[in-house]
């Protein structure tokens, strides 16, 4: 055996060993054994389509966040100006991020401008219009820079809140990513079983408000749209004895007396009828506010509103100290549990909408694996048998390197921490077919050279050297297509691109390098004149 051949065998064994180190941890039995502690922590991750789970794309409503911020600024301006003796009327947010209001007394214009300049550096005065009756209408606009800052901040906060909620919901390996350019959030929850519950807790804004009930308002009139100023009409949910629910109209004061931002903890408990309810704990500031509020409004009703829906409106019996409150209402144990999670994790800074959802039940995943592996085994077996029949001994060489090829692809997937998806399995099966191509190119070339009268030794040399460049050219184009697939694809498509690329790289190594070794070993022991089984 020449030194060159020995070196090539060494390289092959080394690559195989590395492959083994990366593949072995994917086998659960090995990972749990003492060997598993020495090996690297790599394994082939199964995609959602194989193990079940959920993929969500959430869109964050940035416009709503900006609108809320402007509307808050309007209320702040009204309060600050009032402290300085300037009164402004009807601050309203108009569509294009403008804040409009009316100043009844034109002579306090300078003072108002001063207040705006001092406290509202994120706004600039767009126009001041003097109306017919001498009042001045102001139009403020939020600066573009602040709007962008606000948008980024909102996205970051939304991601944080969502991560909090998922952590509390209990998912083992969640993957949460923000896409800053279009204000979207990608959430992957592999192996998740309670998909409905997950959507329930992720998409809820969880904006909690306490509002006083306007007992003097006329509900019949309110339903026709005639409301006292500062009031709003809402619907309250009731659960009936038979489990169905009904809604009753209720008139509330529009301004919330307290919001969910003061909540430090939330949990679930059961009342004496075994009905679940949600308990809330306020922080010290919230507790003081709540105590003062309940003291001021004894014998009045206070409504608990979550995301615009009234859960209950109990009568305040007495001043409540200690910073605890509860939400009773019509929920199941699961609903109460999820509600507690979202209240604990905090409100989303802006509503989110589910733009895309892909969820696969665990049973379908198992079925897909079985079918994919079945197809791979049968397809592979047919190819292997065919190669032996068609090329004889050389076919066995081809089959050997083909198996090594698949093994290396699996090792590559584990090593890169790539995700194996159903299209990925298809990619492996496809490379099976295409990996044969490199061998076929070489063998057909060798046959051709044998027909031209070359000795087996020379024909093998010629076959390999001539076919190598062709194989390179042909495979580079496929790799280009795979790279583009990876760049533009999402989820399963990326998995497919990765397996395709790994498959091609492995097939070049096995078909050009390793199979040559086997041929050389074989030829070394044969008399020069013997034929070649190809």
């Amino acid at each position: 055996m020449s030194g060159n051949l020995r070196l090539r065998i060494g390289i092959t064994l080394f690559v195989t060993l590395i492959g083994l180190i990366y593949v072995l941890p994917s086998i659960p039995a090995v990972r749990e054994s003492s060997l598993g502690k020495v090996l690297p922590d790599t394994k082939i991750n199964l995609g959602l389509d194989l193990q079940g789970g959920m993929h969500l794309t959430l869109g964050v409503d940035i416009d709503k966040a900006v609108e809320n911020n402007i509307s808050q600024a309007g209320r702040d301006l009204r309060d600050i100006a009032r402290d300085d003796g300037v009164f402004i009327l009807r601050p309203t947010v108009t569509k294009e991020n403008h804040l409009q209001f009316v100043l009844p007394k034109a002579d306090s214009r300078d003072k108002l401008d001063e207040i705006i300049a001092e406290h509202f550096e994120n706004f600039r005065v767009n126009s001041r219009t003097t109306l017919d009756d001498g009042q001045v209408r102001y139009d403020l606009i939020m600066t573009e820079k602040y709007k962008n800052y606000l948008a980024d901040l909102t996205l970051d906060q939304a991601v944080k809140t969502i991560r909090n909620r998922i952590d509390q919901f209990g998912v083992s390996e969640p993957d949460i990513r923000k896409q800053r350019e279009d204000y979207r959030i990608q959430v992957q929850l592999p192996g998740l079983k309670d998909q409905q519950g997950a959507i329930d807790i992720l998409s809820r804004t969880a904006h909690l408000e306490f509002k006083m009930v306007d007992e003097n308002a006329d509900i019949a009139k309110a339903q026709k749209g005639i409301l006292p100023p500062g009031d709003e009409l809402a619907m309250m949910q009731h659960t009936n004895a038979d489990g169905s629910s009904t809604e009753t109209p209720i008139v509330l004061k529009r301004d919330a007396v307290l919001t969910g931002e003061y909540i430090t903890n939330a949990g679930t408990a059961f009342d004496s009828y075994n009905q679940p309810y949600v308990t809330l704990t306020f922080n010290s500031r919230g507790a003081r506010l709540f105590e003062r509020l309940t003291g001021e409004h004894v014998k009045e009703r206070m409504a608990i509103v979550l995301d615009g829906k009234v859960y209950s409106a109990p009568v305040i019996q007495d001043r409540i100290s200690g910073g605890r409150a509860s939400i009773t209402g019509s929920f199941t144990t699961d609903e109460a549990h999820n509600l507690a999670i979202v209240l604990r994790a905090g409100a989303l800074p802006a509503p989110v909408t589910i733009l895309q959802e892909r969820s696969v039940g665990p049973s379908l995943g198992q079925e897909s694996i079985d079918q994919g592996i079945n197809a791979a085994l049968i397809g592979g077996a047919l190819v292997i048998v065919f190669m032996v029949i068609y090329y004889g001994f050389a076919g066995i060489v081809a089959d050997t390197v083909l198996m090594l090829n698949i093994f290396l692809v699996l090792a590559g997937l584990a090593g890169f921490g790539a995700t194996l998806t159903l299209p990925g399995i298809a990619g492996i099966i496809l490379t099976l077919g295409m990996a044969v191509d490199a061998n076929v190119l070489i063998y057909e070339r060798i046959r051709e050279e044998l027909r031209n009268g070359l000795t087996p030794r020379a024909a093998v040399d010629m076959g390999y050297s001539r076919a190598t460049l062709t194989i390179l050219d042909a495979n580079v184009t496929t790799v280009i297509a795979a790279i583009i697939l990876y760049q533009f694809g999402t989820g399963p498509i990326r998995g497919f691109a990765v397996t395709l690329t790994l498959g091609i790289l492995a097939s070049m190594f096995t078909a050009i390098f390793v199979s040559r070794i086997l041929f050389d070993l074989w030829l070394v022991k044969r008399p020069a004149k013997a034929g070649l089984s190809i």
Binding site: I354, L355, V360, S363, I389, G433, M434, L441, T477, I480
Partner: protein, 358 residues
């Protein structure tokens, strides 16, 4: 010696059949285009059009009509129900065109509607996919861009490798990238932009005499159009996995074309014949057994995928099946005749090499 399909190098006059081949290709493309025109473009799956797919599994067979009636009671817009997978799987796919429904209320709706209408059957929701209209439009655009860049990069690679004219390939890339950018600024829809860019790419290949690239790109555009056309005729939907299949077809078709082109180049260097058509013919014949073998083994595994791979990748396997077949055909009957029509520049004789016999 193992088996031999072709005992010796065949001498089929492939180039002589090119008119028949052009007719066949023309008819296939025409049929596809007509089908696309009648149906108003490709039938987009929910990935591109937006909508909801729900896959349901029952313990026993359900009549489609009964299932449809039960599901219609939820009041969904554009509901279709069809069987999914194999006969014995008892799996059904419901497709809802509307995408502004919340999926958790949809799940509840389905659960209660089915529990009411067919309580004895025991159903399971296996898979829910919802794509909002905005995401759908984004995905559609990305898919088109992917196809375009794949074709462009491949054209550059072929021009560089086969004709050693990287500069010409570079000019083409720069012109196209610049053109795309400007047209994009003007606000032309990505769909038209891609088509325009492709036509410009072909024109540039022709103008810069990048004939190998021209042949290869025409062949792969041919393959993609025919595959898309057959999908339209069979009323199959386009989704992201089909785009993946199309890109794989592009890779495969090129793989095949390049192996023939490589041999043509080698034979040109060896001056096996004064007649270019003859050189091409010999080259195709020399590589024919390899072409048949590789396509054969690839088809065997793709057929295994198609038959046994399960419902989720059924259409993906179908696209590959069509593509591998058409891709093999096009490297012989489309790419090579185009190369003949435009003739590559003479290959320089390598130093010290004697012209080989045919």
């Amino acid at each position: 010696m193992g088996l031999n399909i072709l005992k010796k190098v065949p001498t089929v006059n492939f180039i002589g059949y090119r008119k028949v081949a052009f007719l066949i290709s023309g008819l296939l493309i025409l049929a596809g285009v007509v089908s696309l025109a009648i149906k108003g473009g490709p039938a987009y799956g929910i990935d591109f059009a937006g909508g909801i797919n729900v896959q349901l599994k029952f313990n026993n067979e359900v009549e489609l009509d009964k299932l449809r009636d039960a599901l219609e009671s939820i009041g969904l817009e554009g509901l279709t129900v069809q069987r999914f997978g194999m006969q014995g799987d008892n799996e059904y796919l419901m497709r809802i065109a509307q995408s502004d429904i919340e999926t958790d209320s949809l799940r509840q709706g389905i659960d209660s509607a089915l529990a009411k209408a067919m309580p004895e059957l025991g159903h399971e929701i296996q898979r829910v996919e919802m794509v909002g209209p905005k995401v759908g439009a984004d995905l559609r655009q990305k898919a088109l861009e992917a196809m375009f860049y794949a074709v462009l990069l491949i054209a550059i690679y072929i021009s560089g490798r086969f004709e050693q004219r990287w500069w010409a390939a570079g000019i083409m890339a720069a012109a196209l990238a610049g053109g795309m950018y400007v047209l994009g600024l003007v606000g032309i829809a990505t769909g038209y932009l891609t088509i325009i860019a492709l036509i410009v790419a072909l024109a540039l290949c022709w103008y810069l005499k990048l004939n190998y690239a021209l042949g290869a790109v025409v062949a792969l555009v041919h393959d993609v159009i025919i595959t898309v056309g057959i999908f339209s005729i069979l009323n199959k939907e386009f989704d992201l996995t089909i785009v993946a299949a199309l890109l794989t077809i592009i890779g495969y078709s090129l793989n095949d074309t390049i192996i023939v082109f490589d041999r043509i180049r080698e034979n040109l260097r060896n001056r096996i014949s004064k007649d270019f058509g003859e050189t091409i013919n010999v080259s195709i014949n020399q590589t024919l057994s390899r072409t048949l073998l590789t396509s054969g083994t690839t088809l065997v595994v793709v057929v295994a995928l198609f038959v046994l791979g399960g419902g989720v990748i059924h259409d993906f396997a179908l696209a590959l099946l069509i593509g591998v077949g058409v891709g093999t055909y096009s490297s012989i009957f489309v790419a090579s005749p185009i190369l003949l029509a435009f003739q590559p520049p003479e290959e320089p004789l390598p130093q010290g090499a004697a012209p080989a016999k045919a």
